[in-house]
């Protein structure tokens, strides 16, 4: 698996998210209150809302368009809603964040 460096953990506000542009579309990278980081497609399973713009709580994000709650760990919609987004492996080394490029090309397939 190839890992691409995307920046520092401190580039993302706690309980917030930033985006990464890729040829396959945007990826949202989240940082929780406890400094855990997650990367998922920035595309809500409901109607494609930008999840990176939602409110982050626990290890979940609430979509800004119609309030679906998406688990950052599994990419699945929580509660009564059904659907999932792709999660992308991400690792932290020291301050630096890396995401798995292989997963990205899967996205394209």
């Amino acid at each position: 698996m190839t890992w691409a460096m995307i920046g520092r953990i401190t580039d993302i506000p706690r309980r917030g998210a930033r985006c990464i542009e890729t040829p396959q579309g945007k990826i949202a990278v989240f940082r929780t209150a406890e400094d855990r980081v997650f990367a998922i497609e920035d595309h809500c399973p409901h109607k494609g809302g930008p999840l990176s713009q939602g409110i982050v709580h626990g290890a979940a994000v609430t979509c800004p368009l119609h309030n679906w709650v998406i688990s950052l760990e599994t990419g699945k919609a929580l509660g009564a809603d059904e659907g999932a987004v792709r999660t992308i492996p991400i690792k932290v080394e020291g301050e630096m964040l890396f995401i798995a490029l292989a997963a990205l090309s899967d996205c394209a397939a």
Partner: protein, 848 residues
């Protein structure tokens, strides 16, 4: 034209059209099933249909004609609608969906004018002729209108249906004098409701004491005192001679010559069964439509139920017996040889005026053969009287303390010999057999067949059984399953005690709707505790109030953030990550993830320079859509998030600031051109609107706040559907509030008239600050006002000058920290991470 075509024509609103559609689908079935036609869509036939559909679904194709243009609602609850404690939507019994589901054709606003018994058809005033196999007449009652001169003047109303309530609410906006004729149940409820709406109310009652048909003079006297304590005047032995007025009501003249001024007169002097239609059709009628114990009229294919029916020589005006009629009629519609029979019973009377407890049942006149037990407690305002005959209860009057009503009623019904408990009887059930018991034990001691809900005839055993069987835990569930306390609601306390008894510890009667899944506390508690415990950041709140999640959710965080911003201006640092994206980036997210931007145009006024700047921005950033908003300003839609800071920078150079079109905060102040240009203008509405907007922009509020100022009552700025509106008049500024024109539509309430612009500004600011401090997050002003009542708000921001000043000063202080243009802050670099991707991977460089 077929009847269904007409249904389609008259149900023109989108909401009701599906009913006609459903009927259309069933049209082919009409020949197979029997046709049941019902005249009147009140509470009695509604209940009858419920029984019918339960017992024999699909047996009949049902068509209903209702003179009132609406579905079946809980008429009993009109008083809470009048007083503002409930909305019409909350008292609907059968929504449109119910009619669709049951394939019923409902002709709203069709009055049946004749019945042709030979042809077996009915004809409506709009020309629909509908054939029937079985017909049910349920036309209810008509209010009795005193035959005095002037009884048809504008401003004379009766109290029977929602239209009457709406007319009263409209009249109450004037906050002038009202007279209610009739001091019975209906009249007193009308009086209390009008008083709650800010009217100065006088009740005229012909008899020496109030509610003399249900109360003895002693209880009538206590009731009169309680009514007068609320500021309602009561004149007994008042015989109305005439209603005075040119075109509109100006007052009432009494037989003794007294003249009482009023702009509204409500006649609540009684009702009479509405039997005319049946009489014209040749059906036997007396006071009401005469029916046998099976609710059949003298024509075997025609039934009558409800207040219009006379059975065994009685007519009825309370729902309990009407519901019994409904049950019996349904039995006979299912099975023509049924032996179900209506039996007369007394129904207790209760008054639905908050804060007044009274209960009366049976016969309480004095007499040779009867004796009585009386208990008075003057300091507590309690009066109890039990009337006995042959050592058995025949009547009970309770005032001030009514908890034992159900027990006395039970003893009366079962004709229990009370000789043994005679000495302690009046103290109630808790005192029987030794030491006093707590109220719960009293309920526990009631036999299973004791009636708890008089309206719906639900006994204790059934309520307990259903709670256990279905595992119910909330009052609403119990209402849904048993109907107990679902009509007039006066037995709610008893039902709650039963729930506590059955569920034990797990029932929490004061349960409030929690803010969200992270806490059991409701919004009001959280607001109170934030202040009481001096909690000054989101994490402190979650810790101290024992949130069950580590960092809240998307529901509670924005609410908490708002409460803290509002309560601790200057101290609390906004929690940026607890705001919705729109408030984080100061623009409105659109469905494709792009944003729209709306600059402020003070009072809706703009200039060539501003328009040119907007045009330049649109060209430069290739903005796809430019649209004029409903709030008198310009919206630029489809802007990429990355472009936002540059767009704002350019707009900022032209002098624009954020319009907060995204905020739970002050949005727009619409204005008309007022005295500047308009030939009707009475004040400088444009100038005043701009002044309000410049004073209040930037403030965060529980939900959005939209305002408007119109220069005269022609109201070109549409101020009467806004959160806050001003109508300028010659004598000053009429301040309106609590309107809505979104999901709900509601005209504003009048807060009051003030003379100067300065005072108007102060009152408006105080009003908004009171709302900021008290409302629940996302609760618009009209919903909040409904909860705390118009009268209370008026008292605090209009009448109480000290309170007004306090609110005003707190608002002014918090504005010091709020009036910062968010756009220019961001142009100078604040939160710049928001607007740039963190990284770009594998993208072809844009080198071509």
């Amino acid at each position: 034209m077929t009847p269904h075509d007409i249904a389609r024509v008259q149900t023109s609103s989108a909401k009701t059209a599906p009913i006609a559609d459903a009927a259309e689908k069933d049209a082919s079935a009409v020949t197979k099933t029997e046709r049941l036609v019902i005249v009147g869509n009140g509470m009695a036939p509604g209940r009858m249909l419920e029984h019918l559909f339960e017992r024999a679904p699909g047996r009949y194709t049902v068509t209903i004609f209702n003179a009132e243009p609406r579905v079946n609602y809980d008429r009993i609850m009109l008083s809470p609608v009048l007083s503002g404690e409930k909305s019409y939507e909350q008292i609907i019994i059968h929504g449109d969906g119910w009619y669709i589901k049951n394939g019923i054709t409902l002709y709203k606003g069709h009055k049946i004018v004749s019945i042709d018994r030979d042809a077996k058809t009915v004809t409506s005033d709009r020309g629909v002729v509908e054939p029937y196999d079985k017909l049910v007449i349920a036309t209810g009652s008509v209010p009795f209108i005193l035959p005095v001169p002037g009884n048809n003047l504008a401003g004379v109303l009766s109290y029977r249906d929602l239209d009457d309530v709406n007319a009263m609410l409209l009249a109450a906006q004037s906050r002038t004098k009202a007279i209610v004729i009739g001091g019975g149940l209906l009249g007193l409820e009308a009086a209390a409701g009008l008083e709650a709406q800010g009217m100065d109310v006088t009740v005229l009652h012909l008899m020496p004491t109030l509610m003399e048909r249900q109360l003895d003079p002693a209880a009538g006297y206590l009731l009169q005192k309680a009514i007068e304590d609320r500021g309602i005047k009561v004149i007994c032995k008042a015989s109305t001679k005439a209603i005075i007025g040119e075109k509109k009501v100006e007052g009432v003249e009494l037989a003794d010559g007294r003249l009482i001024p009023a702009t509204l007169v409500v006649m609540a002097a009684g009702i009479k069964p509405n039997a005319g239609l049946a009489k014209d059709a040749g059906l036997s009628s007396n006071r009401g439509i005469v029916v046998d114990a099976g609710m059949r009229t003298t024509d075997p294919n025609i039934f009558a139920v409800g207040e219009c029916a006379e059975v065994g020589g009685h007519v009825y005006g309370l729902v309990a017996p009407l519901y019994e009629m409904a049950r019996v009629a349904a039995e006979h519609l299912v099975d023509s040889s049924s032996t179900a029979a209506f039996v007369h019973s007394d129904t207790p009377t209760k008054l639905k005026v908050t804060g007044i407890d009274l209960f009366s049942i049976g016969d309480f006149a004095d007499g040779e053969d009867r004796n009585e037990i009386v208990l008075r407690d003057a300091s507590a305002g309690v009066y109890k009287r039990i009337i006995l005959k042959d050592n058995r209860i025949i009547g009970t009057v309770l005032y001030g303390e009514t908890a034992d009503g159900a027990w006395f009623n039970d003893l009366k019904k079962k004709q229990v010999d009370i000789t043994d408990m005679r000495d302690t009887l009046i103290f109630g059930q808790a005192y029987q057999g030794g030491s006093p018991l707590d109220p719960m034990a009293a309920v526990a001691a009631l036999p299973d067949d004791a009636e708890i809900c008089g309206c719906n005839g639900v006994c204790k055993g059934r309520i307990v059984g259903v709670i256990q069987e279905k595992g119910l835990t909330s009052l609403d569930d119990v209402r849904a399953h048993t109907k107990a306390s679902a009509s007039c609601g006066s037995c709610t306390g008893l039902v709650e005690q039963l729930m506590a008894l059955t569920l034990g510890e797990s029932y929490n009667p004061a349960a409030v709707q929690p803010m969200c899944g992270c806490t059991t506390l409701g919004h009001d508690d959280v607001r109170r505790l934030i202040k009481a415990k001096n909690l000054k950041n989101v994490f402190a709140v979650m810790q101290e109030l024992e949130w069950t999640t580590s960092c809240g959710c998307a529901k509670c965080r924005p609410a908490l953030n708002y409460y803290l911003v509002c309560d601790w201006p200057g101290e609390y640092a906004d929690d940026y990550q607890s705001r919705f994206i729109n408030e984080r980036v100061h623009a409105n997210i659109q469905k494709d993830g792009t944003y729209s931007v709306v600059p402020r145009m003070w009072g809706g006024v703009t200039s060539a320079k501003e328009l040119r700047a907007i045009a330049d921005v649109v060209d430069k950033f290739d903005i796809p859509t430019v649209k004029v908003t409903g709030g008198q300003r310009i919206d630029m839609l489809g802007i990429k998030k990355e472009d936002l800071p540059a767009v704002w920078a350019d707009l900022g150079k032209a002098g624009f600031v954020s319009g907060h079109a995204y905020a739970k905060g002050l949005r727009t102040v619409k204005t008309c051109v007022g005295t500047d240009w308009c030939r009707f203008g009475t004040q400088d509405s444009t100038g005043f609107g701009i002044r309000i907007e410049k004073f209040m922009w930037g403030s965060w509020t529980p939900a959005k706040v939209k305002m408007a100022v119109s220069g005269c009552p022609r109201n070109c700025a549409e101020a009467t559907c806004k959160d806050v509106g001003v109508i300028c008049v010659d004598s000053g500024y009429e301040i309106h509030f609590a309107g809505a024109a979104g999901l709900d539509i509601k005209g504003t309430e009048v807060l009051g008239l003030v003379k100067t612009e300065d005072e108007a500004l102060k009152v408006i600011v105080a009003l908004v600050q009171m709302y900021r401090e008290q409302a629940r997050y996302l609760e618009r002003i009209y919903k909040w006002a409904k909860r705390v009542t118009i009268a209370e708000i008026r008292r605090q921001v209009l009448d109480d000058l000290e309170k007004r000043q306090g609110y005003y000063e707190r608002f002014v202080y918090s504005q010091k920290f709020a009036q910062v243009d968010p756009w220019s802050e961001r142009v100078s670099g604040l939160h710049k991470h928001e607007f740039k991707p963190m990284a770009t991977i594998g993208m072809p460089q844009a080198a071509e």
